[in-house]
């Protein structure tokens, strides 16, 4: 069976290392592409809170704990991937780790994103989240369609 614990993404971005680094670690820029409005800057060991700006999900709070920052090379944070019920306190539940790695590539920067730790998230929690989310997903997929067709 396939790995159910982690998701890995690799992408080559035609931009300089410092540009990619800023887009990932400047809280305002991160929020722009991740669709979240964050309250504070990223610093190792700090909890950064904010509001989701994804259409249809604006009622959700966003929270991440910055794990490690190695300038222009590595950035990692933890968060609760299925935290979609604003009434539930997720703080005692396991988190997933999201890691960004930057490497030189021809014509740009190879960015590797790994999100891991899904196997520790209780299955019951996932079930509940997905049940609650089924309607939301319909809406979200529509938003994705709209975004992509805009180019």
């Amino acid at each position: 069976m396939e790995n159910t614990d982690r998701i890995e993404k690799k992408v080559t971005l035609r931009a300089s290392r410092s540009r990619v680094w800023r887009a990932i670690t400047d809280a305002k820029e991160f929020g722009e592409w991740f669709r979240v409005k964050l309250e504070g800057p990223f610093a190792e060991g700090t909890t950064v809170r904010g509001k989701v700006t994804y259409p249809g999900y604006e009622h959700l709070n966003f929270e991440m704990v910055v794990e490690r920052i190695e300038p222009e090379r590595y950035f990692a944070y933890r968060w609760h991937p299925y935290a979609i019920d604003p009434k539930v306190d997720y703080s005692s539940e396991p988190t997933t780790l999201v890691e960004f790695r930057l490497a030189e590539a021809e014509g740009g920067i190879l960015l590797t994103i790994v999100e891991s730790g899904f196997d520790r998230i209780p299955l019951a929690r996932r079930a509940e989240a997905f049940r609650m989310n089924a309607e939301g997903w319909t809406e979200q997929t529509k938003n994705i369609d709209r975004y992509v067709s805009q180019g």
Binding site: I7, V11, L13, L123, A127, R131, A134, K142
Partner: protein
């Protein structure tokens, strides 16, 4: 609503019973047992378990309803086996998160490549 969108929602709804069925420690234990040692009869499954035979039977029926196990009759006994295809919808949920990353990465790309 686009057809693609309703298909995505339908997939998630389909996965919910699987997660619910697996969201119980005993049931998850039964699945793991069948995965490692199956096919097994109920008496084999309840051997060395703190859970009663009746409880195991109930859990097996819940798992069967979610499409995760099936039984065949061997003489007087029922033998239970894993239905690996039943886990497919659960796996697809991870695909959905993976897809969210793809969309976010597309936005990241247009942000950083815009100015260069």
């Amino acid at each position: 609503m686009s057809r693609k969108a309703s298909a995505a929602a339908a997939k998630l709804t389909e996965a919910a019973p699987v997660f619910a069925a697996l969201g119980d420690a005993t049931r998850l234990g039964v699945v793991v047992r069948l995965c490692n040692d199956g096919p097994l009869s109920i008496s084999h499954l309840s051997d060395g378990s703190k859970v009663t035979r009746q409880a195991i039977t109930k859990h097996l029926h819940a798992l069967a309803e979610a499409g995760l196990v099936r039984d065949t009759r061997r003489g007087r006994e029922r033998i239970w086996n894993l239905e690996p295809r039943g886990l497919e919808p659960a796996r697809r949920c991870l695909d959905q998160i993976s897809e969210q990353w793809n969309v976010a990465i597309d936005r990241l790309r247009s942000l950083v490549e815009r100015e260069s």
